[in-house]
Amino acid sequence: MFLRLLSDIQWRAAHPKWRRMTSSQRSTSTTAEPHPLSLPAQAQVVICGGGIVGTSVAYHLSKMGWKDIVLLEQGRLAAGTTRFCAGIVSTARPVSIELKMAHYSNKLYEQLEQETGVQTGYMKTGSISLAQTQDRLISLKRIASSLNVMGIPCEIISPKKVLQLHPLINIHDLVGAMYVPEDALVSSANVSLALATAASRNGVQIHERTSVSHITIQKGQVTGVETDRGRIQCEYFVNCAGQWAYELGHSGEEPVHIPLHACEHFYLLTHPFKEPLSSSLPTIVDPDGRIYIRNWQGGILSGGFEKNPKPLFTEGRNQLEIQNLQEDWDHFGPLLSALLRRMPGLEALQIMQLVNCPESFTPDMRCIMGESPTARGYFVLAGMNSAGVSYGGGAVSSWRSKRFGTLQSSRTFLRHRVMEVMPLMCDLKVPRWDFQTGRQLRTSPLYDRLDAQGARWMEKHGFERVKYFVPPGNDLLDLDHSKTFYKPDWFDIVGSEVKCCKEAVCVIDMSSFTKFEISSTGDQALESLQYLFSNDLDVPVGHVVHTGMLNEKGGYENDCSIARLSKRSFFMISPTDQQVHCWAWLKNHLPDDSNLMMEDVTWKYTALNLIGPRAVDVLSELSYAPMTAEHFPSLFCKEMSVGYANGIRVMSITHTGEPGFVLYIPIEYALHVYNEVMNMGQKYGIRNAGYYALRSLRIEKFFAFWGQDLDAFTTPMECGREFQVKLDKGIQFLGQEALWEQKQNGVYKRFTMFILEDHDTDMDLWPWWGEPIFRNGRYVGKTTSSAYSYTLERHVCLGFVHHFDEKTGEELVVTTDFINQGEYEIDIAGQRFQAKAKLYPFSSLFTQRRRKDEVELSGYQRE
């Protein structure tokens, strides 16, 4: 799996421009005197930051055959957060890619000492995560399911067993725990030094006491690095500067936005017990008490993630101040109470030190990894959210760093958001939780109207979107505060919204979707888009095409709908969080031609999605134009007037497979059109609906969504969208070769829909995403999204099925027969539910007149 993550780098490594350097250029060891060597004038890769992440990047690149690498550190190696960090390698992560990275790190550290001869203090002690509540236990069970299918030993244990494993623990308030026996402890500074030693043996030049002032970028491409000791020309720059990454990103003329912010983080060191603690005692994580406890030189080391974090360096500071940060016992007080409650026997233990070591956090609690969307060759690995040691080893991948826009780079936003994020490290994460800070940044012009009608909101890419509408009379407080792994309290509310979509008409504000216009003076627009998109865009004017924007390997960089407005202009609708990524991708791939215009018009249009059989009636009454299928076929786009407003782009798509239209309304008309629609719609039973209803509809219709189901590693062939790929359109397009190969050889995973059979909606845990899928008792993949289908009255999960060879574990081709001939189970927090696998949606759902886009969008054309 890890190789897969690395593949992008490997591909670059195979680039013809590669120059091989002799090993004579190797630097002296890491303990070198200051400035033993002058800086080289040029290098292929410059890494900034000598912490665990930077040294790991150097280690891995050099191991993969990259030679011309320079690592710069402003102070000493492993001197920043790395030096102070607690050194716990824990694989218990809820997000699967992070889990994989942590697992890889663990394996790496295990053999590092042997490989390099540098002592890393690696000690396999195991870890125990405690649950004080049933909900916490459920979340641990979900993690345990994920770990088990990865082949990482892990078990849910009783409080009694906890006491056997760790005699100091007070178990009276525990309901259970998760034990991961292979989790380990390391000395992070030593790991970092070991990695640096190995890297330097492989030819990486390491320069300490060299600080990077800024990066030079020309025409969107990294060209060099300016340091206090001179300039280095380079092709690639890797920013591993930890909490300084934000400042470094902003230091150049063309800023690179790296949204992270540092917070103070405290941990306590004690003197040893009279009878020193065994160094093999497992590490304790008590998320309900917000603390972690490990053994340390016969005593303990304990820190935590408090509820009221102290952000720092908002204005940016220099490194010297890290060392001078003060202990703050009053701030640590609540964590100390939690510690003594967990281990009352520690009362008599003497304090050695309270360490204040800043950690950096990101706005969405995921680390920032990958190439910058604005500068080619500028890679970032930072924002480890206090888990640098766990991820450090494995964090070399080209995972999306493009999820943040400039809007998330406001220092105020970051400061407020990290104050929310840090406590979340320990908070229970239940399905569908939302951030509470940094909200109401981008809103639709209808926000107040919808809010007044009982809208409840969630946030996507800074944009407020409606979850559902609370009918008047419901207890609002109650609705907002109950969070659960079981049936949520909005169940009936969303149910009635779905029913209305099926039987009458609903309106959903979808303004957050990213909207681009691409036009040209000649045929350049069509030609470039034909190269970038897999479907044939040379369609008559007024037609809408669903297509993927693929990378070289055929993976989805974006999944979008494109309307041909005229011969030479196109209107492109993409998911909300594509705004930065898609723009960067298009900028990088479109030819540099002044006749080719591209504009982000997201903010210019408000989108109203009219879903339901009566949408036709509402719209034709408002526009005095016939809207029947003969006049307005599906997948069609036309500018028309609605009410008094003219120039409204009406498209016959709904993103759900239900009949209906999306209206793209210039924002100044938004309120007018909304009012008109609601007034006219009254006699057809119109009502507002939210994204939860949309989600239920699209999942029961088996629609994959980019960002949830689709990512850069998924091809159209793997999710049954062959029909959206026109291999024979006569024009070469990106990813074509890879898709040809898949068409010939078959695919290694297949997007499949599962209907849970013996699941009791009221009593059982609900699926969310990331649940393991079992075929004939063997693990074959994980779910990517799920929803309750009000039509089927069953839960529907979507996910990818792989075919692992029973003996070797090698991935084999997945055929339709393989899918159809299995017995499936979905594992929800350790409990398995029978599931029926389907490669096409239920036709019986389509009681309405079947439309062309349903057939196409639903993914599987039936023979």
């Binding site: 016992w329 009053d330 109470s337 009362e347 008599a348």
Partner: protein, 570 residues
Amino acid sequence: MLAASCCDRRMCVCPGPRRIAIPVRSSRLPLLSDAMPAPAHLFPLIRNCEISRLGSTACYCHHKHLCCLSSHFAHSHFRYAPQKKFAALYRPKEHFNHFIHARDYASTPQRFYLTPPQVNSILKANEYSFKVPEFDGKNVSSVLGFDSNQLPANAPIEDRRSAATCLQTRGMLLGVFDGHAGCACAQAVSERLFYYIAVSLLPHETLLEIENAVESGRALLPILQWHKHPNDYFSKEASKLYFNSLRTYWQELIDLNSGETTDVREALVNAFKRLDSDISLEAQVGDPNSFLNYLVLRVAFSGATACVAHVDGVDLHIANTGDSRAMLGVQEEDGSWSAVNLSYDHNAQNEREVERVRMEHPKSEEKSLVKQDRLLGLLMPFRAFGDVKFKWSIELQKRVVESGPDQLNDNEYTKFIPPNYHTPPYLTAEPEVIHHKLRPQDKFLVLATDGLWETMHRQDVARIVGEYLTGVHHQQPIAVGGYKVTLGQMHGLLTERRARISSVFEDQNAATHLIRHAVGNNEFGTVDHERLSKMLSLPEELARMYRDDITITVVQFNSHVIGAYQNEEL
């Protein structure tokens, strides 16, 4: 005697004055300068028969309860101090003991405590906060905002407060006013003084513009933007009268046009003096409307002190008349707080002030001028607005009272002429003005009436407000260093510290927080809920014996802006 027992040492106009210790029993009893203790059995008489008469004067009516209800308390009181003369002998703390005894004696040991939420609702009833609005995400004013609150002891409260932003000139005005012999004067000053100051500050052209607007009936430029709590009212009836006086003032300013730029100090002094003379003049002239006529007389015969701050950039001017006080909170480099007085009290404790009064009157009066720490043995503040009894000649007083409405004639206090009254005026409203250039370490300004200062030392005030505003309870941070400390010991220490801090976070308003301390502090300097609850649950008739009205305005400064100003000047 009644006066002494029901009102405090400061003044009795009873009906029941507070700041002026005049022996009065009721309008029926003969007025004696050397009063005899009244037999206790007389009080029921007053209670039963005189209520309507005592209460017939709108302004003094609040004292009727005080008199009547304190009368049954007086029984017990005399038991313990029968020989004492009235007036200033009684201090609140003594009262407190008597109070307890009184309760015992009355054998009604009801112990009713207020719950914390009840205490809070009392403390917060008058709180008001104003934040200077930000433009473009930046506050360019040197003032961040202010918190204000008042806690009544008199019923109704005799303190007043005002705050306003000058719209035609720069700067902000804040003030506290402590009334005596009723609230009428304090009320009038709180409504009018800032207009007088604002007008004094206006440049000639603006004055002309305003005058022309009035002349031609056009809309007036707004002069002040008030920041008022809903309970801070303006009297509608008198507004026309007040406006005319103000207009006369600015017309004179226009005629005087000196052409010089207005000096703030001078403007403040002129405004104070002018308002006081207008108050005096209005009372002499009278008004055809009988209600107004009575009102202007009440204003003139009652009194008020004033402590006003004018903040414009780094220039802070404090104009003070009387014994309210302005104090600057300064944060030292080590983070601790210190207090700097920005006003001098005008009372008998201020030697310079005593000296001043002596200089203004013939040597023959030296002995009678200041007696028992009071002006003419009666008045505690040595400067005040109103109080024409200490300003007008005896003839003028007699003439005005006699020609005045019946209510005035019936009132003992107004008829009473101070003893040894030979060379009026004895009292002035002229303020002392102190100018201070704000520095970045000047974090806040506290304006408060003497109700606060008599219970708390300014150093404590500085510390409590400073810690409140910075959100940090300034305790030495704990450092383990080389000491042997166990986790358990540390835990105990932290728990105790947390408990101490928690009281800081109860209040959203610095003034409320200060009042909580002023009323509820025990000997250890921390708020004692039981004490707080006791003090606040005193029947309103008794409250005055244990504390005075407290009015506090805390102005918070914007150190960034002040720092920037300073840099500019360098």
